[in-house]
Amino acid sequence: MASSSSLSERIDSVKNVKQITRAMEMVAAARLRRAEQRIEALRPYADALRRMTRRAVEGAQSLPDIPLLEEHDSIDRVGLLLVTGDRGLAGAFNSQIIRAGERRARELRGEGLEPRWYVIGAKGAASLGFRGYELDGTYSGFTDRPAYANAREVGQHIVSTYTEENVDRAEMFYNGYISPMSQIVRHETLLPLQQADFLGGDDDEEEDGDESDEGGEGTGGKGGEEGPDHSRALWIYEPEPGEILRQLAPDYVEISIYRAMLESTASEHGARMTAMRSASDNADEMIDDLTMQANRERQAAITQEIMEVVSGAEATTG
């Protein structure tokens, strides 16, 4: 008898857990939808920024000195920016980023380079701090719903550590969002800005390499074969295109970080949703098993009682 009542207690407690995991799953699903919308909302802005950069490059006679584009003479320290979340209970979401970062740090040390750590998200910061790493930058409290201002704060920090030569390269690790069920670890170089990415764009196949050689002749013979952009001279720039590029460069870093943050947030909600769904499913299974067991015990008890009654009756009549 005692075991049957303890079974029903266990069933109740598993049911309670299931209610919580179901609720968390639903909250994560709602947040995931919002996070997906924000990724969509960013796209036109990011594309337009890219187009404007290309326009400024075409307007500039020669490339200005932009520190963010220049490689440092010697590479000694490499900044690793890990994008994690403020909370756990999301499957491998946080741990796979930390593992990827540590693997990269080992590689760098093997090449004689020193990794420096910059961590977004309280989970990543706590776990790397616990392992005894010294963190140069930690940023948390916003990973549920990052704002552009958060990306700007991180971006400014990374940009200044680069321009002050505290790091000679900056790399970023984050969970790229594929679908609610799947996230992959992405590894991107933030700084120095890839000339090809920043200046060239995705799909345009412009012959950037030869431009400086031809530039001398091109300006002499204006109106010649300038390609599709024969209206170059008619564009008005305010200020000079080189100045515009100089301002665009840090914005480009910020946008890259912001995009990574948004993808990471969507990934986190997706991972939590999936983790909570399987927790709920496990709870269901457990409830079924326990209920079956409880029924069996109850049935056995009833059978036992009937047998006692029957045997008692037989004893009196017989």
Partner: protein, 136 residues
């Protein structure tokens, strides 16, 4: 006098805040105020934080408190790219004042020539401009 309308889009990282036809767009660059009418020459400019005014057909004017950003005009359409753009009614005066104070304090404590300092300078300019719009 009726003017020709032309399409204008205002984009922020959070999404599109305006997409429609206007007769005139007015904003501000480092050089000063800038008004754009239909058939403007191709233009690429850095914008300062200010009140963005979009004059619609029929005399109605839509205004936004606009952060710093970029303006591109090409093929008779304008694209405004800014970090933030708010309707004046959505601005919270006391919130802006405290942000401005915070930015000013941080600016004083920041290192000369650092990236942080440039950021705080940008914030101060932005919140000053937003407050002006809020006082409208």
């Amino acid at each position: 006098m009726a003017r020709n309308p032309f399409p204008v889009e205002v984009l922020t990282p959070e999404g599109n805040v305006f997409d429609g036809e206007v007769e005139m767009l007015s904003t501000r660059t480092g050089e000063g105020s800038l008004g754009v009418l239909a058939n403007h020459a191709p233009l690429l400019a850095i914008l300062e934080p200010t009140e963005l005014r979009l004059h619609r057909e029929g005399g109605e004017v839509e205004t936004f408190a606009q952060a710093e950003g970029y303006l591109q005009v090409v093929d008779n359409s304008a694209l405004v790219l800014v970090e933030e753009a708010h309707r004046p009614d959505d601005l919270d005066r006391s919130d802006l004042e405290s942000r401005l104070d915070e930015a000013r304090n941080s600016l004083e404590g920041s290192e000369e020539g650092s990236e942080e300092r440039r950021g705080y300078e940008r914030d101060v300019k932005r919140y000053e401009a937003f407050l002006e719009v809020a006082d409208g």
